[in-house]
Subunit: 332 residues, 4 copies
């Protein structure tokens, strides 16, 4: 039985706690938050567990095997480090840390203590992302041409991070999970309009043979959660706001045959059937919590480990650097 | 009566010819195309006009007051220059020219001859763009925050220009028309996948107090023609693929009031009614042809003159330069 | 303080209990269900209240002022009658009763005991229906031409009632609430395909000067919740599946001017702006529970009283009769 | 070479003329219309053909093998009869005739003269309808449960026929084409609001084991062209307003297994992939014109012959009768 303590019981903490509480082989043992009202809610939802305003009660408890850090990003490093130093595995909210240096230090610490880190890239456990990964694995899409994602809506404004650190970790984690190549450089543009933090931004990530683009915006009148993935054989549109038809697979594309000169290239269009595969609707975090427990039980590294978290943080740092210089490319 | 000759009778030429033919005060006098089959079609559609495979017949004819140049972009300069040198006003397909230098030379030439140049930025005459311009003029949107446009679909691949030169002139012309400020710098990213020309690209254009972003792509499985315009008071979504509800005006936004520290900024969201104004459905080119004739009759400069064309070409050149360096910003 | 007991704690009962529990001036005092597992859930959600498998404990308790009957329709009469006989006000799930005779008996009984009946036509408390009612009241729509509603989806099949008794009470209650006239006759058609109960049906309700049509179907591959309301001045489309834009008001219509003969009628179309008013998002049942308590406190009849319930039941009975004869009209 | 004369050159006549003009083995020989302006347009479009304001010139010409009657419905009988009497095959606009008696007389006349009648049920030649027919033929949908069509929009009001005679022939012809059974009875409801003719109507057509419903309305603020077809194995949604994704095939349904009593029926829902087959985009009338010529050349009866036209007219008559009595079912 893995005993889990949760630090941070604001918006996402209760969802994490509920899913660990329901996971087989797992016992929700403690909840910590500096807000007493939050602890009241935790007590009511999970009678009998330890609740505390003091993180060290969780971090030092001998009754706890793993700590879930569901707090603002600038505190991830401090809590995760203490947890690892006290021999506990960690489950850390995304983005993993506020800097690549912090991420690397946590990875090294975990390795030296033989502990596990999982970064909460929840979207990787959705039916939609798993289905797209399957389509890629089965060769349905063919060679990938591009990944293009929009994640825009009105608010919620954050006070501590800009829109890239708030929204782009989702897309960067999914992008890294789906694309079997390492990014080469990043160009980011964006602007602040209200509170001194960028509220809209555009990231282009160059890979050796393809491109990714991510559009994040807190100032959009409409909510959009759409990702296009262009492949040589087929193309995918994933609209996460659709209730039933999230993933659409288009048999559309371009075939090109070279003639004798540049103007002799023959481009022909393909436009065949479209197909909406059924996508598993299981709550993503439920699967992720189960997987975390399994990884600890089997002593194996999760695919969304510290390294996966670090890769996202590096991209965020590069994007921040590029953004300061209005799109100047930053090599990775 | 203004007598117009059309050079280039491929896809767009017949539409231009038909609209000049129907414009009051205008007489379609000649059509020129190197393809005899095109001329057969022209003859049938407009019995009695001069048709010729030789542009100089149009360019030198004393029976012609204005020449419409509806040919591939690399030929615009040559034809427009000859027309101006022969004392004719010109109507030039977008983009105006293949380089800013060419554009400047034509502008100077027209000025010295007291002739008029109009660049065919057709979209500026659509009901949707005119309505948005009206909303801005009336202060409905308030201070503009951003302009964000997507113009993507499958093909048509061009053999002579990349996707930026093919599709972005529309968006850049509209952007220039709607935003009352001069762009400061451009960052562009993109990639080629098939025939050596970029088939997808993203442009960010910085203005002093706002941002524009343009997404053009020949490799998208779905067709998108959507522009979001964020304003302080209201926001607009223009979906050009909607038959009846092209322009949506959202009473949505963010109000911010500063407290005593950065964390004391109070952000509140506004979400009121949405409104779809009726938009005039008159064919844009019909209005544009009429306006061209009026400008010549009244001897006044059109707002879509050579200078407007040059502004777009400068942005295209800057984008091409930035694209070569993966997003490196290019100052304007 | 009004003390409410809830009988029936299946799907809808917990929602009703939660809303009465949160209503000012109201105390949730008891929950009754024959299923012990349901009672366990009730106990956990509302610690300290009376739970029982025996309805008579609620119906006879001197600690209870009002009973909410949230059970299958064939049991409404029995429970509501007992409650009224024991001096308790009642809140009854829709449809009110299984027959008009039962409804009339309950209405008479309540009147003689000076007790109140409210029928749970929840939709009347949604922001969308209240907004439409407001548009009608303010004369925005003008004279009504028709009411046309579709409520279709896959399942859920009921074992005790056909699709008319299951789904149409919503539409009939809304229709009665919005149309200021009495229905004249009903024609209903439909068919059974699976379990001997009609799984799809169409109702036409004739009013003196307008028409209503209701389409209910358990066998549709897509979920539809759309109502069109045609008016002389404006028309409304209410799509309840839209998150933000539920009510659309179209300035569209037909103007007719008579000439000298039937063929001289001049029909002209009007197509102006469209407008999506902001709609209150408060949970409908929360407002309804509050209203029930207020009606009891102020001793006033609710607008969704027994009579409103009876009007719906009469339409259901007429529709059932017509359905048996493949559309034969049944006068009301 | 089949020589075709077209009577009626208003809205649809030119489309018919153009398609016969382009059909292999066919020569457009004459156009007749009482409106001289229409004839001017015909002359310009088809130089060299006979144009006339007098139908008898077409009906009696020895240079004509077939007559296309594209006139108001009340004139179909007169023109088609004269054509047949003069030894010409006929192509008649839908609805075939103004009464079943007229239709029968024409069918008998054609049989006795060994001439062919084709009724212009154009929709049967669309890619969408042909694809749905194919899905039914291949058993993809399984046993059909229902056919449910909506054809609503604002206008165009007709002066000579109500909305049923104007719009429902499309749906009735498609329904007859797709359903391999004979209709048993019709119930129709509807209402007039403006010019004395019903401007909205609902038809239910009973078949032995399934149901069809057709909703036609000239007073709708939104245009809808959607048909749902429920089958035991799969269900289809055909949205004719979609540019690319007209036909959607849902692997959704209900499986039912009987237990030991009525309440033991086990209903389980199926929800699998959705699939949008590519649909041929060829202009329907082009295929129909080609088919007409082939039927004449091969001397074979078209599937959309006079009998198919009569079946639609019988349904229209029955619907008109039912409509007068507010839904009273009329047996066929």
């Amino acid at each position: 039985m893995i005993r889990v303590g949760v630090i941070g019981y604001g918006y996402w903490g209760p969802v994490v706690a509920r899913n660990f509480s329901g996971a087989e082989g797992c016992q929700l043992a403690a909840v910590c938050d500096k807000n007493p009202a939050a602890l009241e809610r935790a007590k009511k939802a999970f009678p009998g567990i330890l609740v505390s305003t003091d993180p060290s009660e969780v971090l030092h408890s001998s009754e706890i095997d793993a700590v879930a850090v569901i707090t603002p990003v600038w505190t991830h490093f401090e809590f995760a480090k203490a947890a690892l130093q006290n021999g506990k595995n960690v489950f850390v909210e995304k983005p993993f840390t506020a800097s690549a240096a912090e991420a690397s230090e946590l990875i090294d610490l975990a390795a030296s203590r033989k502990l596990r880190i999982m970064v909460d890239h929840t979207f990787l456990f959705t039916g939609a992302v798993r289905k797209i990964r399957q389509l890629i694995d089965e060769g349905v899409l063919g060679k990938l041409y591009y990944y293009d994602s929009s994640r825009v809506n009105l608010g919620l404004f954050q006070h501590d991070v800009n829109v890239i650190w708030d929204l782009a970790p989702h897309d960067l984690a999914i992008m890294n999970y789906l694309i079997d190549a390492e990014p080469v450089s990043v160009s980011a543009t964006g602007q602040c309009h209200l509170n001194g933090l960028e509220d809209m931004a555009y990231l282009t990530v160059y890979f050796p043979a393809m491109l990714a683009h991510i559009n994040v915006n807190w100032l959009s009148p409409v909510k959009v959660r759409t990702t296009l993935i262009g492949g040589e054989k087929k193309m995918v549109m994933w609209n996460d706001l659709e209730a039933d038809e999230k993933v659409r697979v288009y048999d559309k594309g371009v075939d090109i045959t070279s003639g004798q000169g540049v103007y002799d290239l023959l481009v022909s269009y393909r436009s065949g059937d479209m197909w909406v595969p059924r996508v598993d609707q299981t709550e993503a975090l439920k699967l992720e919590a189960k997987y975390f427990i399994e990884c600890l039980e089997k002593n194996q590294a999760p695919f969304n480990d510290g390294l996966a978290g670090l890769r996202v943080v590096r991209l965020l740092e590069a994007a921040a650097e590029s953004l300061k210089h209005r799109g100047r490319p930053v090599d990775l």
